[in-house]
């Protein structure tokens, strides 16, 4: 049976009542029939240590935390872990987890009529009050539709009345919610823990009301975006003409929510312990949120401002609880740029002294390319074992100035030399191609730099292993590059080949991201509301797990675009005017458009903007909504 046939037959059907009772004999028998046949069945059994079980009859609100990718990836997601903790701390609420079943499991579930269920109680997802999807990557969008459908829930928001769960979503993709607007009832813009309590409270007040009443009430919560309350009209050239709140039920602009004080923010004291090994199988300790370096391609660096730190005391307290309650032997100090944590040396020393005797290692996921950071990282045994990852992002100094990545060749080579001296042999370098104003010389400079890195090792009489990973720029909403065109596939592949030819060193291995994947990312990330039809069509054609190369079907996506009268070039390869209304203009991430324009213009001239934490306020605008310690210097300089 083809996937499409099974899916169409299933759509709209109510789930067979025999399987609606949680944990009944029919379901257990079905499990025993299905699970022996699927890969990694422990993904689907639940019952892990630290998983929270509550009787649904004893709470007011049941919440399914849904992650539209595999268990191994979803279980590593910090946002899901935080919300699981925050929601389950409420006495009136239970939160359970659900992940996208892998294709073998899906097909067994459809064949046997087993609806998508939550891991903790095996309750069908359809019986939950609220489903909250975490949207961290555009290529998981079809999995959202797939999961709703597997649950026996209409995928279109307009097809669901109050008998169905409220479907909400958050995560960094929500900063351009428009492509998913047809499927999601309400989006959370910003940091989930800042707004989730208000959503639960409003839901409790209005749960008996008609769905539109509930949605209008939700839209009154700052940071909640209800797309059905907005109308979008288009110009004849396909650009957005107007985004208007219909009947003034929604605010003209939805401003993101965030936690001003990380020490006061709730953080888990335990993680659910996965049976199968996951991607981040360790204590994730978020030391800082936001980044003020201002790299012009980086969405996280713009939308998660201001930069906020957890205090060392708080971090020690959290680490103690998490280590005791999980048994993990590794703590990862997480943030967008951990080396920028004020007092990082002291933090690392304190943690190393405390945890080394307990055989608990430290890891730093991101290390800045300078010798001081390497010296710091070298104190951490775990890091040295794994190989060193540095992200110069571009090969030439000119290009690094364009993207405002403040790393010089001297910094990088100094960092690498230090790394080799401290005993590393493997170095991985991340680069991007397709950057604004890029020339062939800039591409060749990537090879030159990588070979120079290898040469440093050679000179030190070690045999270095330099891995170069090259991705393609995907211009993202709310970044200075949001108006820029992505390179065409032909151009991307030409540059990749150019780089391949220029890389002449047996110490360097080269890998890159698939050009078609980057193109689809570009289409979806800057898409408008019309892309909902495209996502729906692609899903109907059998697209799912698009983030997995073995399941990615580029041609079906292109067909889906053209069948809906849309064109990938329009979204991916078009340079926008600053005056154009962008599909996400009604979403306020805190950083102003004027600032983004200014930064984009500075890119053209290769003018660097310094980090406001070490220099003067750059006027990004976040101080309009946040207490920003770096903004006090406004007006002092200039």
């Amino acid at each position: 049976m083809s996937t499409l046939a099974t899916r169409t037959a299933y759509k709209g059907d109510l789930v067979s009542p025999a399987f609606c009772l949680s944990g009944n004999q029919a379901m257990i028998d079905l499990f025993d029939e299905i699970l022996p046949r699927v890969t990694k069945p422990a993904r689907y059994t639940g019952g892990e240590f630290n998983a929270v079980r509550k009787e649904h009859s004893e709470v007011d609100v049941t919440f399914a935390l849904a992650f539209p990718d595999t268990y191994e990836i979803g279980m590593s997601n910090l946002g899901v872990r935080i919300l699981y903790h925050v929601l389950n701390k409420r006495e009136d609420t239970v939160a359970e987890r659900v992940f996208a079943p892998w294709v073998d499991m899906q097909s067994e579930m459809r064949q046997h009529g087993l609806p998508l269920f939550a891991l903790e109680s095996r309750t069908p997802i359809k019986d939950f009050d609220i489903i909250g999807f975490s949207l961290g990557y555009e290529l998981t969008y079809t999995n959202v539709l797939d999961m709703l459908d597997l649950a026996g829930i209409p995928v279109l928001s307009s097809g669901r009345d109050s008998r169905y769960p409220l479907v909400i979503a958050g995560g960094c993709c929500a900063f351009n919610p428009e492509p998913m607007a047809d499927f999601i009832d309400a989006f959370v813009i910003g940091e989930g823990e800042a707004v989730i309590h208000e959503i639960i409270d409003i839901f409790k007040q209005h749960r008996a009301d008609a769905k539109d009443v509930l949605l209008k009430a939700l839209a009154q919560i700052p940071g909640v975006y209800v797309p059905s309350l907005y109308e979008v009209s288009y110009n004849s050239d396909g650009t957005v003409k107007e985004i208007r709140a219909s009947d003034s039920e929604g605010p003209a602009a939805v401003t993101k929510r965030f936690m001003q004080d990380l020490d006061a923010a709730e953080y888990p004291d335990a993680f659910v312990m996965p049976y199968v090994e996951t991607v981040h199988d360790r204590v994730s300790l978020e030391v800082m949120r936001g980044c003020s370096r201002g790299c012009r391609f980086c969405q996280a660096g713009m939308v998660y401002r201001p930069t906020r730190q957890r205090s060392q005391e708080k971090l020690l307290e959290l680490a103690n609880n998490l280590c005791a309650n999980t048994g993990y032997d590794e703590i990862s100090l997480m943030s967008l740029s951990t080396a920028d944590y004020t007092g990082i040396e002291h933090l690392v020393r304190t943690f190393t002294e405390k945890y080394e005797p307990e055989r608990i290692g430290l890891s730093l996921p991101s290390i800045r390319a300078d010798a001081d950071c390497i010296a710091l990282a070298s104190q951490i045994q775990k890091v040295r074992k794994s190989g060193l990852t540095l992200a110069p992002e571009a090969g030439s100094q000119r290009m690094r100035d364009v993207i405002d990545k403040n790393v010089s060749e001297e910094d990088l080579l100094g960092a690498v030399e230090a790394a080799f001296r401290f005993g590393w042999k493997r170095v991985k370098l991340y680069f991007m191609i397709g950057l604004p104003t890029e020339t062939d010389e800039d591409i060749e400079a990537i090879a030159t730099l990588a070979m120079a890195v290898a040469q440093v090792g050679r000179r030190m009489r070690i045999r270095p292993m330099v891995g170069v990973s090259v991705s393609t720029l995907v211009p993202k909403p709310h970044t200075p590059f949001q108006w820029r065109a992505q390179d065409t596939i032909e151009e991307i592949e030409r540059k990749q080949n150019l780089l391949k030819r220029a890389m002449r060193s047996k110490d360097v291995s080269l890998s890159w991201h698939d050009a078609e994947t980057s193109r689809l990312e570009a289409v979806l990330s800057r898409g408008d509301r019309r892309l909902g039809r495209v996502i729906f069509t692609a899903w109907q054609k059998g697209c799912r797990f698009d983030a997995w190369s073995e399941h990615f079907q580029y041609n079906k996506w292109m067909e889906s675009l053209s069948e809906n009268g849309l064109d990938a070039d329009f979204y991916a390869n078009r340079r926008r005017d600053y005056s154009e209304i962008l599909p996400w203009d009604h979403i306020d991430c805190g950083v102003t458009k004027q600032f983004l324009i200014q930064e984009d213009k500075r890119a053209d001239t290769g003018t660097v903007t310094l980090d406001c934490r070490s220099d003067k306020c750059v006027g990004c605008g976040i101080n309009r909504i946040a207490a920003c310690q770096n903004a006090v210097r406004i007006g002092e300089g200039d």
């Binding site: 025993d32 699970l35 059994t45 998983a51 049976y275 309650n325 048994g327």
Partner: protein, 219 residues
């Protein structure tokens, strides 16, 4: 050196865990329970513990064994209590006993497992099953197919590892088979192999749950 032998239950809740998943889960429990386990030397120290034979995914057990090497003497009952408070539902330490020094690791002596299987057979009864077992045991050679890593299959001889089998009828009328299968360095047979061999003799035989009752040392 202080060695402790644990007997573990692997219940319905965790029967789909792979052997590797169980080891992971157990290691986390050891750390949470602050069990004073010894670590190996070297670059990547590992807790010193050894497992008995792995059982397949989908099989429950009341006799999985783990032998731990500890850094000092600990009351076995304390270890049992500490671990049971840290293990997920379905995994339980049933017994903990000190392994006397100088004795060869008891875990390495175990080389056979007794399994209880629930069975049904469309159109036949206990007598048929008994006859099928007798027929199987009278064969000199029993070859079964096993899946191998690359997606293919290979044929293996399991007759030497079939030690005993007995069919019975429960009070509720259900059939069950108690089978002892050997394993060791020279190979072994698992419940799946046995079921495959049995269904060749008795095609209508269906085996439901499989449960390891005990591990033994055959002579």
């Amino acid at each position: 050196m202080f060695h402790v032998m644990l007997t573990l239950k692997k219940g319905e809740e965790v029967k789909y865990l792979s052997h590797r998943d169980v080891i992971r889960t157990f290691e986390f429990a050891l750390r949470r329970g602050k069990i004073p386990i010894s670590y190996s030397e070297g670059f990547n120290p590992r807790p010193r513990m050894s497992f008995g034979s792995a059982i397949g995914v989908g099989v429950t057990s009341e006799d999985d064994r783990i032998q731990l090497e500890l850094t000092g003497p600990v009351e076995p009952s304390d270890i049992k209590a500490a671990l049971n408070s840290q293990l997920p539902p379905g995994i339980r330490v049933l017994a903990a006993e000190i392994v006397i020094e100088g004795v060869k690791s008891p875990i390495s002596k175990l080389n056979a497992s007794e399994f209880r299987m629930s069975a049904s057979c469309n159109g036949c009864d206990l007598t048929c099953v008994k006859e099928a077992i007798a027929k199987l045991f009278s064969s000199e050679s029993i070859r079964v197919k096993r899946n191998i890593a690359d997606g293919g299959t290979k044929e293996v001889e399991i007759r030497p590892h079939l030690l005993s089998a007995e069919a019975a009828q429960e009070e509720n009328g259900d059939l069950s088979i108690l089978v002892t299968l050997g394993y060791g360095h020279s190979g072994g047979a698992g419940p799946k192999d046995f079921v495959q061999a049995m269904t060749k003799v008795l095609p209508n035989l269906r085996v439901g749950s499989v449960h390891r009752v005990r591990q033994t040392a055959r002579e």
